[in-house]
């Protein structure tokens, strides 16, 4: 139930339609979000001259570390993980395709996306241990099929997270956020039947709510 009186008004002003119910048990805070917070937090940034030299000011409504405009950053976990069937063994000869689902219902229509970065972690299946050479990642809107539509990206190694920018390919730049983003992924190696396993998928979404940003005020003469 919405809190009474002034708390509701303040939450509304903070862009929170209802009181968040609290920290989900199984949700650690991703390091990238801590890093962005410490960079944005004025006291922390001021405390560390390496991050913000004295006299420098943080641009309002700009995410320095990502180099894009924005005043809201969300780290969204894949909802499809729970429903994904166990990976078929690669003996089947055909590497699996995965469907990932991101719930974006919390994004308001007034927010303009400035970055939608897909982040994937793969686990090399036993058959691929020691496999050299690069892989190819394909991403497409679910249901569109992994044909010419969508995004293809070379993945040199499975040891690091794989990042793919969706804005401009899967997601039109000036389109507002859908309520839910469903994608089909596939990761292929040039050696047939060499497959990997999708361990985790997340989306780092940066949006700009212009209503909450001051125009860059010129310093007083």
């Amino acid at each position: 139930p919405a809190p009474p009186g002034p708390a509701a008004a303040l939450l509304q002003a903070l862009g929170l339609p209802d009181v968040p119910r609290g920290a989900p048990r199984s949700r650690p805070v991703p390091p990238v979000m801590w890093r962005l917070f410490r960079r944005r937090d004025h006291r922390e940034a001021r405390a560390d001259p390496r991050r913000m030299p004295p006299g420098a000011t943080l641009l309002p409504c700009h995410v320095e570390e990502l180099g894009v405009a924005g005043n809201i950053v969300r780290h969204v976990l894949d909802r499809g993980a729970a429903a994904r069937p166990p990976e078929p063994s690669s003996a089947v000869g055909q590497c699996p395709e995965w469907t990932v689902v991101f719930d974006l219902s919390a994004v308001e229509p007034a927010e303009r996306p400035s970055q939608a970065r897909l982040e994937l972690r793969f686990a090399a299946a036993e058959a691929t241990v020691g496999t050299t050479g690069s892989w190819e990642l394909s991403v497409a809107p679910a249901g569109a099929g992994l044909g010419p539509v969508g995004l293809r990206q070379v993945v040199p190694t499975l040891g690091l997270p794989v990042r793919a920018e969706l804005l401009g390919s899967i997601w039109a730049r000036n389109a507002s956020a859908p309520r839910s983003l469903r994608l089909t992924l596939a990761l292929r190696h040039r050696t047939p039947a060499v497959c990997a396993r999708l361990a985790e998928a997340s989306l780092l979404l940066v949006t700009l709510d212009q209503r909450l940003c001051h125009p860059l005020a010129r310093p007083r003469r």
Partner: protein, 119 residues
Amino acid sequence: EAEPPVGGGSVGACRARRLYVSFREVGWHRWVIAPRGFLANYCQGKCALPAVLSEPGGTPALNHAVLRTLMHAAAPGTAGLPCCVPARLSPISVLFFDNSDNVVLRHYEDMVVDECGCR
């Protein structure tokens, strides 16, 4: 926690006073990851002469405020004294969990009072 507002005539000149907002006090600590609170501060103080001319290095007073103070000194029954309000503000960023279990970093302008002035 706030610097106790000073009552009566000895309120002193217009300036920023300490006000710390603890998210635990407002019951938000379960979903706000960081910070635990922040110094919001508030403005209080008289805007009569000479305070309205603001301390050296402070925010220059507006001519209108000085004019009103002079008028008030000459004819107290006319327009009241100028108000002691925020003259420079800073933003804060808040890291929290939303109801979709997303980790969200939001940047809020004008949350901390750095300087006050007579307006």
